[in-house]
Symmetry: C2
């Protein structure tokens, strides 16, 4: 279906604009994404509800296309140079077949890091990305952009780490005296791999739930970027 919209005051535009705020994303269980590359993956993942575009697109006819002008795109886009396609996605409950390999983000604050970790988790074939309540928003435009479309395909939930304690082996990444070099670690499935905040590392609660504390030996500086450390660990523990 194709519908033309010329006014920024149109209700559909006002609704899309609201989704720039986390509180409305939560309320309506919807979020915005942008660009042709992401749209293609989101359509495959069957999460697209409506598309705002400056030019009619050759996509599934069941998806409503609002043809709008560049001013309207600018209003609902989060990019300084919009790509002329903005679309609304629904947040769906993930069907999760198995839970052998889980990456758990404990207070990761930077949306770009979260998006990059989601992308790595999908590529390294993890089963789930799980976030603590104190992480940045999954549906922040920077998370979505950094995920390069993997956010539409990767199962992601919010949950307390302690809910995995009875079912999973818990590896916690931390620079502690008792930590073991990741290279010495043998995978024990099913497992959860926990990584922490960019500045403070993992929480005391996560440490107290650890079955093994692990680390990547480094030199010259204090830390690796959390998305880098997570990805190296995911790769080695798969």
């Amino acid at each position: 279906m194709v519908v033309y919209i010329n006014s920024k005051e149109n209700e559909k535009i006002k609704f899309a604009y609201k989704l720039k705020q986390e509180k409305y994303r939560k309320k309506y269980q919807k979020y915005l994404a942008e660009g042709a590359f992401d749209l293609e993956l989101a359509i495959k993942a069957k999460v697209v509800e409506a598309v705002f575009t400056t030019k009619q697109l050759d996509i599934d006819e069941n998806i409503v296309q609002y043809i709008v002008n560049e001013d309207i795109i600018k209003k609902i886009s989060s990019l300084s140079t919009p790509q002329n396609i903005v679309f609304i996605c629904s947040i769906k409950e993930n069907k999760i077949d198995k839970l052998d390999k889980i990456i758990y983000l404990d207070e990761v604050n930077d949306p770009g890091n979260i998006g990059t970790i989601i992308r790595s988790a999908l590529a390294i074939d993890y089963d789930l990305v799980c976030l603590s309540n104190k992480c940045a928003s999954i549906y922040n435009p920077k998370t979505i952009s950094a995920s390069k479309g993997s956010i539409f395909l990767m199962p992601i939930i919010k949950k307390d780490l302690k809910e995995f304690k009875n079912t999973h082996h818990i590896f916690v990444s931390a620079l502690k005296e008792e930590a073991v070099d990741i290279k010495q670690i043998k995978t024990k499935k099913p497992f959860v791999l926990v990584v922490g905040n960019e500045a403070r590392g993992v929480s005391e609660e996560s440490l107290s739930l650890a079955d093994e504390i692990i680390y990547i030996p480094i030199k010259n500086i204090d830390s690796l970027n959390v998305a880098i450390a997570s990805s190296i660990m995911m790769y080695l523990l798969k």
Copy 2:
């Protein structure tokens, strides 16, 4: 030395402002960095020429401190929320003791990726980060920010890959039929590890110089982020 500056039109401020542009960074062989964390590392690395700050700092007396107001900081800062410390660094020729392990960036475009790779290279104890001429600027504020201070400590140069052909084993990361799983690869020192552009991968020229083509097997999506892929490979090839 402490000097007070009240005007945005002061020559020192105008000079600092010029360094926001790559052409002046090249011309004067200087660049800007920001924040207390980076300043501490830059002082250790002996690259700081002058500091602009809203409050006098307890640092080496030989470094000139210009005490300025927040408006002036805003003018010379690259951050939307400046940290009240902006400083000028000199680009020095790196003393390089050995060249056993080199990471080579072939047309990497995103300054954040370059900064993150520099940080990983320092942490994983590589000897040199080498950039092709088509990479983003080393001294872009986003490169410096993502490097988390490692830019002051890590040897970095620009050079053609072919200059290493006679002295180093060249590993090139690319998704080609003849590529070998990184897990099967044995390190051969001295070596250069080449990674490519975010969208296009490595250039044909780099491929033609390869002694071995290597890849990280992934599933579900087309690629890992280049900083992630580089760091996993650096870690495995060290």
